[in-house]
Symmetry: C2
Subunit: 390 residues, 2 copies
C-alpha cells in the first residue's frame, strides 16, 4: 500500500513525473470561448500539478473565434489590414501571420461578418465580401502565399463576388452579366489556399446559400428568391468565364456562396482545398506536433451528447489522439451516455464539469470557475493513479 499520508495524500501536488498535457477544447457555445475553456482547464490542472508541461491549443470550427483560438496556441502574431465592412464602411480587419512570415490565417468574419453590423443594419441584398478580398490582398502584399481562410459568420450572400472583385475580377452587366479574369491578381498562382467549412450546401435552390442561410442574415422570403436568382446569374457568368462547374459542389453555398466563387478559381491557385474547420485550426495551432509529444490531451465542448458521435470537436480530437497513442479526456458542461459511448469507442473518457443540480442558465452563467475546478479534479485523480506502484 502506498502511504498517502507520507506525502500529504492525494491533495499533494506534483505526484509522479511531470506530464505533458495538451489542452485542446472547443468553445462552450453561448458561454465561453475555446480560449477561456483552455485557460481555465489549464489553470485548474496547474493548481494540482504545477510541474506539468501544459500546452494550449484551443480549437474552433473556422467561424468566428478561429483567429483568437489559433493565436492563443502560440507562434502567431496579429496583423491588420485596411478594408471595408459588408456595407462598404472603412475598417481595420485583423488577421494572423505565423512567426516565420510564411503562413496567414484570415477570418472572413473579420471584415465581412454579421458581427460587423448592428441588428438594424443587416442588408442581405447588398452586403459584400469585398473587404475579405482586401485582407487577402494585404496578405499577398506581406509576401505570404500560404493562406488559410475561415468562412463562418458571414453577413453576405454575394457568391464571393466581392472577394473576387477585390482580387481583380472585372464585370460588365449590360446586356447580360459577363466576367473577365484577365486582371486577376498575378500572385494567385503562387497561393496555397485552404478554406475551412463544415457545411455541405450547394450554391442554389432549396438547400442553397440564400434559402438556408439568408434568413439569419436578414433576408425575407422575397429577398431569398431575389438572392437565389442573382446567385444563379452570377454562377452562369463565373462558370462560363472559368470553364468550371461548381454550383453543385458540396459546400459551395458556404458563407453566402463565397466558397463557390473561390472554387471556380481553383485552377488559378497553386493549390486549393476545402477542409473541415477544426482540421484547419488544428493544423494552424500545431496540434499534430504538440499531440505527438503529449502524455494526455484534454478536449471538451459544451455538451457531449448524441451529436458528439457526428463529428463535433471532441470526437475529432479523440480520433487523432487514438491514432497517436495518446490518452484523451473530454470534458463537457453536460455529458450524456450516448456521447460518452461514442468517445469511449475511441478510448477517450468523457467527464462532466457539472457539480450539482442547477439550471442550464445557471450553468452557462457560472463562468470559468467550474472548469478550473474540473481541471484540478482531473489532475488530482491522475496523480492518485500515478501514486499506485505498478
Amino acid at each position: 500500500m502506498t502511504g498517502a499520508g507520507a506525502d500529504g495524500g492525494p491533495a499533494s501536488t506534483g505526484a509522479g513525473r511531470p506530464l505533458a498535457v495538451l489542452v485542446a477544447p472547443d468553445s462552450f457555445k453561448g458561454s465561453l470561448t475555446s480560449v477561456d475553456v483552455a485557460r481555465a482547464l489549464a489553470a485548474g490542472w496547474a493548481r494540482a500539478r504545477p510541474a506539468d508541461d501544459l500546452r494550449l491549443a484551443p480549437l474552433a470550427d473556422g467561424g468566428e473565434g478561429t483567429l483568437v483560438a489559433i493565436e492563443a496556441a502560440g507562434g502567431w502574431g496579429w496583423r491588420t489590414a485596411p478594408a471595408h465592412d459588408p456595407l462598404g464602411r472603412p475598417i481595420e480587419a485583423r488577421w494572423l501571420a505565423s512567426a516565420d512570415g510564411r503562413h496567414a490565417v484570415v477570418e472572413l468574419a473579420a471584415a465581412s461578418g454579421l458581427s460587423r453590423l448592428a441588428a438594424g443594419e443587416r442588408d442581405p441584398l447588398n452586403a459584400s465580401t469585398f473587404g475579405t478580398g482586401e485582407v487577402l490582398r494585404a496578405v499577398l502584399d506581406a509576401g505570404i502565399r500560404r493562406i488559410d481562410l475561415g468562412v463562418g459568420g458571414s453577413a453576405t450572400t454575394d457568391g464571393g463576388l466581392g472577394v473576387l472583385a477585390a482580387l481583380g475580377l472585372a464585370m460588365t452587366v449590360e446586356p447580360g452579366l459577363e466576367v473577365y479574369l484577365d486582371d486577376l491578381d498575378p500572385r494567385l498562382p503562387e497561393v496555397d489556399l485552404r478554406v475551412a467549412s463544415d457545411v455541405a450546401n450547394p450554391l442554389l435552390g432549396r438547400t442553397g446559400a440564400a434559402a438556408v442561410y439568408g434568413p439569419q442574415k436578414g433576408a425575407t422570403a422575397v429577398d431569398v428568391r431575389s438572392l437565389d436568382g442573382a446567385l444563379g446569374r452570377w454562377a452562369d457568368a463565373l462558370e462560363a468565364a472559368t470553364g468550371r462547374r461548381e454550383r453543385e459542389t458540396p459546400g459551395a453555398g458556404a458563407a453566402g456562396g463565397t466558397v463557390f466563387g473561390l472554387a471556380c478559381l481553383r485552377d488559378r491557385f497553386r493549390s486549393f482545398a476545402v477542409v473541415p474547420g477544426v482540421e484547419l485550426v488544428m493544423d494552424a495551432a500545431g496540434f499534430g506536433a504538440k499531440l505527438a509529444g503529449a502524455d494526455l490531451v484534454l478536449t471538451g465542448e459544451g455538451r457531449i451528447d448524441a451529436q458528439t458521435a457526428f463529428g463535433k470537436t471532441a470526437l475529432g480530437v479523440a480520433r487523432r489522439a487514438a491514432a497517436a497513442g495518446v490518452r484523451c479526456v473530454a470534458v463537457g458542461g453536460g455529458v450524456e451516455p450516448d456521447g460518452a459511448a461514442a468517445l469511449a469507442a475511441l478510448g477517450a473518457l468523457a467527464v462532466p464539469v457539472a457539480e450539482g443540480p442547477q439550471s442550464v442558465e445557471e450553468a452557462m452563467a457560472a463562468g470559468t470557475a467550474p472548469l478550473e475546478r474540473c481541471g484540478e479534479r482531473l489532475a488530482r485523480l491522475v496523480s492518485l493513479g500515478m501514486g499506485f506502484p505498478g
Copy 2:
C-alpha cells in the same frame, strides 16, 4: 510516452495491478440508501477495473438504515424478536447478530420507530420504547452481551421509560412517581452497551427532547409542554433511584430521552458509552480492518457542502483514511467549494456525480445509474494515472 493505443487506451480495463478499494458511502438522503450507493459505485468501478478487490462498507448515522448498512458489509446475520410497536401492537423486530454470535446491533426504530406508524397514528403522549427493551432482552436471551444500539427515527418521547420497564424497572405512581431497580434484568452487569447518537440536546427545556423533536413526532404546542413536564417527573424519579444526574448530559434528549434513561443506568452495565453514529457503524462494519488493507476508500454523501465541514460522514471517513495513510475520494450528488475544501484539508478529493444541468428533483429521481457511471469514470481516471510510468 506510454502507448495508450497499444493497450486499447484509457477505456481499456484493468490497467496496472489490482487495487483494494473500500466503498464506504453514506446514504443520499431522500433518494438512495447507503447500500444502494455503495453497490452502484462498486458496480461502475468494476466495469472499468474488474480485477480490483472491491469491499463494501456502506455507512449510516445510527438512525434508520443502520442495520441494512451493517448487514451489507458482511459478517452479520438477521435475527428477529417478538416485540411491540410504539402503540403496543405485536410485531417482529429485526436485529443483527455477528457471525460469531458475540455481538448484536439493535436499531431503536425497528420496534419503536416513526416508520412503524401510519401518518394518522402518531401519538407522542403515549408512544413507548417498550418494544426496544423487548428486543434487547431477546439479544440477552441469545447469549449476547456486546450490544450496539442506534437510536435515530424514534416515535417516542418517553425518556426511555419503556426500554427500562422491559428490562425490569418497576414503578409506583401514587402518591408520587417512584422507581425501583431491584428487578432489573440480572444480566445487565455483563453488558457492554454502546449507543449511537449524533445529537447534543439535554433532556428538558427549550432545547430538550419534547421541544425540539416532539413536533416531528406529532406533538402540538400543548403536547410539548405536557411531555416536558412528564419527562421532568420521570427524571426526578429515575435520578433519585439511580443516584445519577443525567438530565443535562449532552445527548440525553436523543430518541425522546431514551439516552437519558439508559445513561442513568450506566453504572449497572459492564460498560456504557454514547458514540457518534457513524463511528458505531464503522466499527460494526469492520471499517478499520478493511481500511488498513485498502489502497483507496470511496465515500460520499448526497451533498458535499459547508455542512460537510461539521462532521458529516464523508469527513469522518476522510479523517480515518488520512490517519491510515489511505487515499480517499468522496463523491457527492452535488459538490460545493466549501465542502470540497474541508475534505481537501484532509487530503481527500471531492468529485460530483452530476452529469449536466438538471433540477434537484431530476437528480434525486435519477436512481443509481449516474452513480455507476461516476464509479466507472473514477476507475478509468485512476487507471489512466496508473498507466503513466513513474
